[in-house]
């Protein structure tokens, strides 16, 4: 595959989409373009601490749900924060389809959505004004946002709460609100840090279905989790991180053909 060719193709289609203001065939057109997240030799060290990420290299193709697992303090959130541009990493480069994070950060961020492990939102805004804010930043037209908010918020059953201030929301409701905000602008790459914490069974089911549906359109989902059963069922690929280093990175079938992900994880993180 010639990446230059895809760059050009991407550019042309994007311009076309913008100039024609075609929103209906948006998803379809994008789905014909190949996307790829490349993390190359990324190292990150917090001031005065040891390496939280050491020389991490991952390559994620479109249509993949990529699970990222590891013990507490292994460096999952640290890598995720590097990918979404929350902090500087010392070495390496992260790119999404030719757009590098260090050079084209704004263009890069237009294509991603991120939900942190602890959804601290603007407490004094109402749910709907938060969604409006996010949609404004991404330049989403009024019709499109109405339609998206309608379908997503009703799916998560928070539509009636959107008029209330976020400070009245429970943890799960905040999680749901940030999910709505994330899916609203059709990100090419969705990055979730422990997305299932605090969600009720029905909501996690919906999230899982949404995720499957989403990658089938050629998008990428990258998420960290401690719930190995979910990772096992949902992901096509998985990487295991331990003390800042990737100790395993492969298709999920390679493990599950022989044993469960749980026993494999426990073995791997205990020895060596």
């Amino acid at each position: 595959m010639n990446s230059k060719y895809y760059d050009k193709y991407l550019c042309v289609t994007e311009k076309l989409l913008v100039s024609c203001k075609v929103t209906n065939c948006h998803d379809k057109l994008w789905s014909e373009v190949k996307f790829m997240l490349e993390i190359k030799n990324v190292s990150k060290r917090y001031k005065g601490g040891a390496f939280a990420n050491k020389n991490i290299t991952l390559e994620i193709q479109d249509g993949e749900i990529f699970g990222f697992i590891g013990p507490n303090g292994a460096g999952k959130s640290t890598l995720i924060k590097s990918i979404v541009g929350l902090h500087l990493f010392d070495e390496g480069e992260i790119s999404l389809d030719g757009l590098t994070l260090k050079k084209d950060d704004v263009e890069f961020k237009k294509k991603i959505a991120y939900i942190p492990d602890n959804p601290d939102l603007y407490e004094n805004l109402t749910g709907i004004s938060y969604l409006n804010f996010i949609a404004d930043i991404f330049n989403i037209s009024k019709d499109e946002r109405t339609q998206k908010i309608d379908s997503l918020a009703s799916k998560f059953e928070i539509k009636n709460d959107l008029g209330n201030k976020i400070k009245t929301y429970s943890h799960g409701m905040k999680q749901k609100l940030s999910l709505v905000a994330a899916f609203m602008h059709n990100p090419k790459l969705l990055i979730l840090d422990e997305p299932f914490v605090g969600l009720d069974p029905k909501a996690s089911y919906i999230v899982k279905e949404l995720m499957k549906d989403y990658v089938s359109k050629g998008n990428i989902i990258f998420f960290s989790s401690h719930v190995l059963e979910v990772v096992e069922k949902l992901c096509s690929h998985v990487a295991i991180i331990k003390k800042g280093e990737i100790v395993f990175n492969s298709k999920i079938q390679d493990i599950t053909n022989n044993e469960s992900l749980e026993s494999f994880f426990l073995e791997l993180t205990e020895h060596a």
Partner: protein, 522 residues
């Protein structure tokens, strides 16, 4: 007792800690505060010396100790009233402390002790130099002054706690109260500043005495302090000590007794509102960003005040100078000279006051643990900074120009001075805005829980001090050039200095700003 001390330690270290990239948490926060205090003390020494000198020349030196005590009291009262809301009655604190196995009395004592210690700083700063200076005239004042310094402000603190609770209660109950309280606070503050200005511009001191005599009526214990300090009736010192002890004991007892009821009363349930599809609105992204920040400011009366105080003072200054000059007996020649001096001083002074209500120096801090939102969104860092600068300039633009126009009318400015009093403050606010932004990017304090921590954060302190010093230097340059050469030279050189400063800081911001923002861990 052990619990008391360990909790007190936590409270005090919490006050001084802030995010620092070098992880020298406590030391650097403490350093900034000590630096600030020493400078304040120096200012106080000079002012005290000047005031005592003026009183001596008018043969009313014996009024001086009470005047100083009055100033210390009113400063303490104002500051405590403004802070009681967020320091004492914060519900987050309450949620963290209540489940711990602590006695309510311990919690209350620790809260009040830290509050009292912080508020004492004002009376210490104001009164310690006076005790030294006046102690040389009347040695008994060393003793009576210290007793008064410790007791009288304490009574003021207690008073303001009671008032502060009532205000907080009203604030939480009614949304409209937010506006009313804000206006009330601003009115109190305006009146206060106006009085201080009228007093300090009064030339022969008689008005000061008469102003304080009103205070005597309101607070009879000032009379007792007078009797003790000036007339050496030391029995009144005993009365003051007794009053302080009894009233603080009473307050502590009431606080402990009604502890649960108090916090229950403070807790509010948000009103629920049904979502309508008409709530979905589209806006330009930069307007949306500005709106988000304005909402964060408007959410709390304390922040609105911080945002407006300097600007209000900027309006009051020319008016109060004008009226106090009216009460002076000067002839028309002197009046012309006076007006000329005003044309040389006011541009810098107004700029300084407007820049004092700076927003950028706590604008990053204000994002708190929600900084991840803007950092992960596709916003150009320079757009983000620009939006903060616009918000910073907004009140200064309105109040600064209003104050300029008032000055032009009152002091009969010529054309060039008129241009300079409009242009210089605006440029200075911009300069201070970029500087404040850089300082805040360098020293952000994320994870705060009360608004007070914002105003006390090192970046806010470093900013207000450097901005004041820069403004004084600039005003001095303008004044000296204007007086000895002419206004054209003064204006053009100041303009060049300001623009050069702005360009230099903008270059730093565009080169370093993005990296600094990325270096903030969130």
């Amino acid at each position: 007792m052990h619990n008391y001390l360990s909790l007190l330690k936590i409270f005090i270290t919490e006050k001084f800690s802030f995010q620092n990239r070098k992880r020298r948490k406590i030391n650097s926060g403490l350093g900034a505060i000590i630096f600030f205090l020493v400078l304040m003390l120096l200012v106080s020494v000079f002012v005290n010396y000047g005031v005592l000198d003026a009183y001596k020349r008018n043969n009313i030196a014996e009024e001086y100790p009470v005047a100083v005590l009055g100033i210390a009291c009113s400063l303490t009262f104002i500051s405590a009233l403004f802070r009681a809301n967020s320091v004492l009655f914060s519900l987050k604190d309450h949620a963290f402390l209540t489940p711990l196995p602590l006695k309510k009395s311990t919690i209350v004592l620790v809260k009040l002790t830290t509050f009292y210690l912080e508020e004492m700083i004002f009376s210490l700063l104001v009164m310690v130099p006076s005790i030294v200076f006046y102690g040389m005239i009347d040695p008994t004042y060393i003793f009576s002054g210290i007793v008064c310094m410790l007791t009288v402000p304490l009574i003021m603190v207690l008073l303001s706690i009671v008032l502060g609770f009532i205000i907080t209660l009203m604030l939480n109950r009614f949304t409209a109260m937010k506006i009313i309280t804000t206006i009330l606070y601003i009115a109190i503050f305006t009146a206060y500043i106006a009085i201080v200005f009228i007093i300090s511009y009064d030339t022969n001191g008689t008005q000061m005495v008469s102003t304080f005599s009103y205070l005597y009526y309101i607070f009879p214990f000032l009379q007792w302090a007078y009797a003790a300090m000036i007339n050496h009736q030391f029995i009144y010192l005993l009365i003051l000590v007794a009053l302080a002890l009894v009233s603080s004991g009473l307050l502590i007892a009431l606080y402990v007794l009604f502890y649960d009821k108090l916090y229950q009363a403070l807790f509010v349930q948000e009103k629920k509102r049904l979502f309508k599809s008409s709530d979905i609105k589209a806006q330009k992204s930069y307007l949306s960003l500005i709106k988000k920040d304005l909402f964060a400011i408007l959410d709390n009366p304390m922040l609105i005040i911080a945002f407006l105080v300097g600007n209000i003072i900027a309006i009051i200054i020319p008016i109060s100078i004008y009226f106090s000059s009216k009460s002076m007996e000067i002839n028309s020649e002197e009046l012309i000279l006076f007006n000329q001096i005003m044309t040389l001083i006011l541009p810098g002074l107004i700029g300084m006051m407007c820049a004092l209500s700076n927003y950028t120096c706590f604008s990053i801090t204000l994002e708190n643990n929600r900084l991840w939102i803007v950092k992960s969104l596709p916003i150009k860092s320079f757009d983000y900074f620009g939006m903060k600068l616009i918000i910073n300039q907004l009140p200064g633009f309105i109040f600064g120009i209003a104050s300029g126009v008032i000055s032009i009318v009152l002091f009969k400015f010529d054309v060039l001075s008129a241009i300079s009093i409009i242009v210089i403050p605006q440029l200075y606010i911009l300069l201070a805005g970029v500087f404040g932004l850089l300082i805040n990017l360098k020293f952000p304090k994320l994870n705060w829980s009360t608004y007070n921590e914002i105003k006390n954060s090192p970046s806010a302190m470093i900013f207000s001090f450097s901005s004041m010093i820069a403004a004084i230097i600039l005003t001095a340059i303008y004044f000296i050039l204007g007086l000895f050469i002419n206004v054209i030279a003064a204006f053009s050189i100041t303009l060049v200095l300001l623009i050069a400063g702005i360009i230099a800081l903008f270059i730093i911001l565009s080169k370093k700003g993005k990296t600094l923002l990325l270096q903030i861990e969130c």
